[in-house]
């Protein structure tokens, strides 16, 4: 269990850092030497691009450089929630986090105060995991599978100038 990191000061990101983030959150070149290709486009050296990406990752500005999987296509998953006494919330959260297949767990301000994503290789394994966890928790799990996605992509232009003022 961990607390949130502090926001980073975007003033510390220079023009090349920002161009890297802006240009490649939508996709890296999928070719034999991707960082050399990026370097060529940005007018930098390959080792400089790699060093920058490492640093942005180490500072948590990038959560990772790699594939974004559509886990609905790579297995089964659903959004789940439970309503537990606020005083016991962290103990319930530990049980949920320890269950196989749980990949996000957020405390939210509502009667349903723990929200998590359960994943499994296929739909029947997903049901089995939820049933097992439900028995362990002793409270009903609200099961909210995605029925339709209107929008699935968390890539948006970062308003650097605005962020600098905040």
């Amino acid at each position: 269990m961990h607390c949130r990191p502090q926001p980073c000061h975007v003033q510390n990101l220079d023009a090349l850092d920002r161009r890297l983030i802006d240009s490649y959150q939508r996709g890296l070149p999928v070719c034999p030497r991707p960082f050399a290709r990026i370097a060529e486009r940005l007018g930098a050296a390959e080792d400089e691009v790699i060093a920058r990406l490492e640093r942005l990752q180490a500072r948590g500005v990038l959560s990772r450089v790699g594939p974004v999987f559509d886990h609905a296509r790579a297995g089964a998953s659903l959004l789940a929630a439970v309503a537990v006494p606020e005083a016991e919330r962290d103990a319930f959260a530990e049980l949920i986090n320890a269950a196989p297949g749980v990949n996000h767990n957020y405390a939210r301000e509502h009667d349903y105060n723990l929200w998590f994503v359960m994943t499994a290789p296929d739909a029947s394994a997903l049901d089995a995991r939820l049933d097992t966890l439900e028995a362990r928790l002793g409270v009903p799990i609200l099961r909210l599978p995605m029925l339709e996605s209107f929008h699935i992509d968390l890539a948006f232009p970062i308003p650097w100038a605005e962020l600098e003022r905040t």
């Binding site: 949130r4 990191p5 034999p32």
Partner: protein, 185 residues
């Protein structure tokens, strides 16, 4: 801030398919497991992944491309952590929208500034009447609330009720998404 639009209409079909029917074989699954937390930052990342798995770099690259073409991989990218960039308020907004209107309105809501994800999900009455979810991101709760106002206005009379569920704490967050294969029964 504007938001890109990428829609999927295949939810019901693909949910009925098993992973194998989606065309992920054992090597694909091994590649997914080896890369879902991030690629090694070296000049030849495909070769580095391949060495770990006993595959050639060419095969890793070809399989990544094929998974991207099939939509298993949405994109291969530098993934920003928006929280670290100052988007410290995230509100999961949930809406009770007239079933006859939810599909049309869901598409409209998805295009509103600040919305990152927008899904239709089932109601569970009487405890859970909300059938439309829109995740909002802002630099403050005030910003998220004004985004929610814009959604409320767009939904109009088709919306009976809504809530904003702010996250008070991240208790677990991982990019690890593909479960290891369960033993075959």
């Amino acid at each position: 801030m504007s938001v890109s639009i990428c829609r999927s209409s295949q939810g019901s079909v693909r949910d009925a398919l098993s992973p194998d029917e989606r065309g992920l074989d054992e090597r694909d699954r091994a590649i997914v497991l080896a890369t879902q937390a991030g690629l090694p930052l070296v000049p030849d990342p495909w070769g580095a992944v391949g060495r770990e798995l006993g595959l050639t770099g060419e095969e890793v690259l070809a399989r990544m491309r094929a998974m991207e073409a099939r939509g298993v991989i949405r994109r291969i990218a530098a993934v920003p952590n928006h929280y670290r960039l100052g988007y410290v308020a995230n509100g999961m907004t949930v809406w009770d929208v007239d079933d006859a209107e939810v599909e049309r309105l869901g598409r409209e809501v998805a295009a509103i500034e600040g919305v990152s994800h927008c899904y239709r999900r089932p109601r569970h009455l009487p405890h859970w009447p909300y059938n439309l979810f829109a995740m909002l991101h802002g630099r403050s709760r005030e910003e998220v609330e004004s985004q929610a106002e814009a959604l409320r206005a767009r939904l109009g009379e088709a919306c009976r009720d809504h809530r904003i569920l702010y996250s008070s704490r991240i208790l677990k967050k991982t990019g690890l998404r593909l479960a290891r294969r369960a033993p075959q029964a």
